[in-house]
Structure formats: structure tokens, C-alpha cells
């Protein structure tokens, strides 16, 4: 009986591992193809030897149709995603604190308005926001990609609900000690909510890094495109060079995966808080 149970458990692990491998197979395929010699790209699952030629070609290639747009695109992605995410997290922590811990007249209205905005269909705002950004003269600039995405009502909501559970005594005693609101937010509230901050920041960064539609329409210059948009729009002209495309896809995907795996310790706890809302 015990033996049967052990076999069954073993089978379950085997099934879990196989399913997991199928799940991450696209990643494995992508990385292997990006490292394959060019005569083997898209022809074999596992290349006979590995080479960095696709990566080198991508960043230094003289054969490129457009001169080295990839490095610039990667930098664009970093600039846009890092500033946008920092602003979203920062503003959400401040506003969430005000809504959760500073009772003020009208606060309930602001909170309800945030809820309304969360469920309001964003698609309706796409076109007018595009026109607005164009009217500001932000077409083809970083501003267009950062400012409209500098605040997230979802993040504000997350912080508000999490901060509500922080005991009021902690804040009161900090105030008695003469701490400013600023200090309370960034020295007490945010450190107390580490796991939620990590998950919120990760989700926001990922969404920003992988945004396609918005970044596609507000930028036309190749030099201003994010890596995601560049990879999406350049594929047809790179048809003879599938290897470098896989390399670009790997460079696009790997940062997110690595950040995620680095923080995966906090993941289980944080995700439960996020899903619980």
C-alpha cells in the first residue's frame, strides 16, 4: 500500500515536471535558436554547437538594414519602463497612504473614483489620449510613453487596501516621535509592505516593458521605438536573419524572467495578497 502511494507520488512529480517543461518550452526553444549556428536556426530543436553570432550580429552587425537599432531600442525600453514603473510605484505608495491612513473629507469619494476608473474600459480613452499626447507635441518622444503611464489606479488600489491593515498605533507613535508623512510612508509603510511592493512593481514593470499598442502608435521613428515594438515591426525585413530575431526576443524576455526569478522568494506571499483583492 505504502509502495503504491510512493509510486503514485513519483508519477505526480513526473507529470508536474513534464507539464512544466512543456509550459516553458517556448523559452527553451527561443534561447536555443538564438545560440544556434545560422545554418541550423529553425531547422533543428537542439543545435549541434552553440555560438553567439546572432547576438554579435545584432549589436555590431554591418550587414544590418538599419544601423544598429537594437541597442538603442533596448535603452529606450529601459528608460521608458524604469521611469514609468518608478513613478507608478512611488505615486501609488503616497496616494495609497493618504487614502488608507489620512481620513479627510472627500477621501471616500476619491477612493470610489479610483474603483470606477479601474473598471472603466480603457479602450475608449486610447484614441483621445493619443490625440492629447499629440497636441502636447509629445509624438515620437519619451514623454508620450512615460507620462500617460506614470500612474496606475490598480497599484493605488493595492497599496490602499494593504496599508489599511497596518496598525494605526505604528503611525501614531511615529508622529509622536516627530516623523513627517514622507518619512512614515517611505521608512515605515513601504518597508512593511515589501512583498506587495515587489509584486506590484514586477507586474507594472512587466506590463510596461511589454506594452505594444500604445508604444506602437505614439512613436514612429525607428530610433525611438522600444525593443518590443521594434521586434514586432521589423520582422518582415529580417526574414533572412531568423537567428538575430531569436536573439532579440531572448534579450526582450530574459530581463523579466531574471527579475522574476530573483524575487521568486517573495512571490508566493505577494501574489496571494494581490489575488486576494
Amino acid at each position: 500500500m505504502n509502495r503504491r502511494k510512493a509510486t503514485f507520488t513519483g508519477l505526480k512529480y513526473a507529470a508536474a515536471v513534464i507539464l512544466l517543461l512543456i509550459s516553458i518550452f517556448p523559452y527553451i526553444y527561443m534561447v536555443l535558436q538564438s545560440l544556434a549556428p545560422w545554418d541550423q536556426v529553425n531547422k533543428v530543436f537542439i543545435p549541434s554547437r552553440l555560438t553567439l553570432r546572432s547576438y554579435i550580429w545584432l549589436f555590431t552587425g554591418t550587414e544590418a538594414l538599419v544601423a544598429k537599432p537594437w541597442l538603442r531600442a533596448f535603452l529606450n525600453s529601459v528608460i521608458v519602463s524604469v521611469s514609468s514603473t518608478s513613478l507608478m510605484v512611488l505615486s501609488a505608495a503616497i496616494i495609497g497612504y493618504a487614502l488608507a491612513k489620512l481620513p479627510f473629507r472627500g477621501g471616500a469619494f476619491v477612493y470610489n473614483f479610483i474603483l470606477f476608473q479601474m473598471f472603466y474600459p480603457a479602450v475608449i480613452l486610447l484614441i483621445p489620449t493619443f490625440l492629447l499626447v499629440k497636441a502636447f507635441g509629445w509624438f515620437n518622444t519619451y514623454w508620450a510613453m512615460i507620462v500617460p503611464k506614470a500612474m496606475s489606479v490598480w497599484a493605488i488600489f493595492m497599496y490602499t487596501s494593504f496599508f489599511k491593515s497596518v496598525p494605526q498605533e505604528i503611525i501614531d507613535s511615529a508622529r509622536v516621535d516627530g516623523a513627517s508623512e514622507w518619512r512614515i510612508i517611505f521608512r515605515i509603510m513601504v518597508p512593511l509592505s515589501k512583498s506587495i511592493t515587489i509584486i506590484v512593481a514586477l507586474f507594472l514593470f512587466m506590463a510596461r516593458w511589454e506594452e505594444l499598442l500604445w508604444d506602437l502608435v505614439v512613436v514612429q521613428d525607428t530610433s525611438m521605438r522600444t525593443l518590443n515594438v521594434l521586434l514586432a515591426t521589423i520582422q518582415s525585413s529580417y526574414n533572412p536573419y531568423p537567428g538575430p530575431l531569436y536573439a532579440a526576443a531572448t534579450i526582450l524576455t530574459l530581463p523579466i524572467l531574471l527579475v522574476f526569478l530573483a524575487f521568486s522568494r517573495h512571490f508566493s506571499q505577494g501574489i496571494r495578497l494581490v489575488l486576494g483583492k
Binding site: K12, Y13, A16, L19, L20, S23, P26, Y27, Y29, M30, Q33, N42, K43, S91, I94, I95, A98, L102, F104, G106, V110, F113, Q117, Y120, V123, I124, L125, L126, I127, P128, T129, F130, L131, L132, P148, A150, M151, I156, E181, W209, E210, L212, L213, L216, V217, N228, L231, A232, Q235, A249, L252, T253, I256, L257, F260, S264, F267, S268, I271, L275
Partner: protein, 288 residues
Amino acid sequence: MEVRGWILTSPYLLYSLVFFAIPLAWSLWLVFTNWNLISPRIDFVGLDNFVRAFKSARVHAAFFSAYRIMGFFLPMVLVQSLAVALLINSLPWGRAFFSVGFFMPYLASGVAVALVVRGILAYNSPAAPIFKALFGTIPNWFGHPVLAVFIISLLIAWKFSGYYALIFLAGLQSIPHELYEAAELDGARFFTKLFRITLPMLYPAFYTVLIMAVGLCFAIFTEPFMLTGGGPGRATHTWYLEIYYQVFQNLRAGYGAAISFINAAVTFTSVLIVRRLMQRWGRALGYE
């Protein structure tokens, strides 16, 4: 307190004014005009945009493609995520590891994944011999309307199943153990426990997942944009593709805005219907 609260929330108020209230008002005006983004002339056309959209074959295609994708996507993602959640939950150790692992597809950029999928499904790919052995021929994946919808749905299901699995997993872990112990005393077997305890107790998780999954089907852009361009024969022509095409290719801002209103209304109604159905099921199970 009063003043501080308003000062700290003022960035949000400013942001909402500029990037919510103004665009909202603008969109309400846009839908009644025929503005084409270039012409200095803007005519007020009343409900013309809506009338045209209701008659447009492209909009009809978008309307139906959402439900076609849903028809594949919902069963796929529910079975996958539920299976993964049940499997992870039954493991004595390593649950955190597998949760993280199965969540990884959610992190992928649709653009990168589309590239990989196109490579794998290509006529001369390393996978082609496998398809040939399985189906007798190498399917023209994106040339056949049903296959194209299937592939797009599969991709989206792949992306979201790990995420939804976590919701189910949280639901599974909140089911009291005593229920199973009592059922085992009564001699209940695996399937009895699954259908009489697990699935009904997962109702809140089903509710969350279904609402999210249904809403998603009306906002698909990346996968068809990258892989099918809406084809073949508009089988995968989604709402967002149509809006993108009308506004940013045809420059018909007013018409595009009207379509986005219709899209929002259709999404809202569909989600509402699913909600009602779920609530009916919930009441039958004794949930409020």
C-alpha cells in the same frame, strides 16, 4: 489631516483630470464627428459612425471573432489551470517551486512568443516532421480559419493558465481538510470528492477567473497582430485590430472612437451575462 490628505492625493487628481476626464469628454465628442486626424475640417455627423459600424462587415467579424476565440480559450484555459492547480496542490513538497515555474509563461512578451510560434509552425521547422507524422500532412496553421483561431486561443491560454492556476490554488488551499476526511469516512472516491467538494468549493475562484477570462477576449491585440493580421478571411480579426486599423492606418478617429464605444458596450454586456450565470450557479451552491 484635511489638507495633507488632499495634498498627497493631488497628483492623482491632476493625472485623472488630464488623462481621464479630458480624454473621456473628448471621446464623447469624437464619436459624433467624422474627423480624420489630418483635415482641418471637422463635421458633426450625429450617429452616422455608429450606424456605419453596425453595418460594417469588419465590425461584425470583430464581434464574432471574440466569441470564437472565447469558445476555444475558455475550455483550454480552465482545464489547463485547474489541472495545474490540482496537481501542484497534491504535491507534498515543492509547491512554491512549481507555482513559480508554471507562472513563467505569463511573463512572456506576446511579441517574442509570436516569433517562436511562427518558427515552430513554419513549413520547414524542426516540428514539421512531428506534425506530419501526427496529421499525415503539415497543416497550414494560419491559412485555415479554425486552426488560426485555435492557435491564437492556445497562445493566450498558455500565457494565462499559470496565473489562473494560482487563483485556483489559493482556492484549493482554503478548502477545510475536514470536508475531505468526512467524505473519505463515507467512502467517497476521487471523482466524488472532486465533483462534490473541490469544484463547488472553488466557486469563488471560478467566478474571478471566468470574469477575467471573458473580459480578455474582447481586448486581444498582440497575437493576431503578430501572427495572422486578422486573417484568414477575418477569422481572427479582433476588436482591437479593427480599432487600430481604423484609427492608426485609416486615420478615421471619429469612426474608431465609435467602434471602441461599441467594443466597451459589448464587453460590458458579455461580462454581465457571465456574471449573472455565475451568480445563478453560486446560489445553487449556497453562495450569496
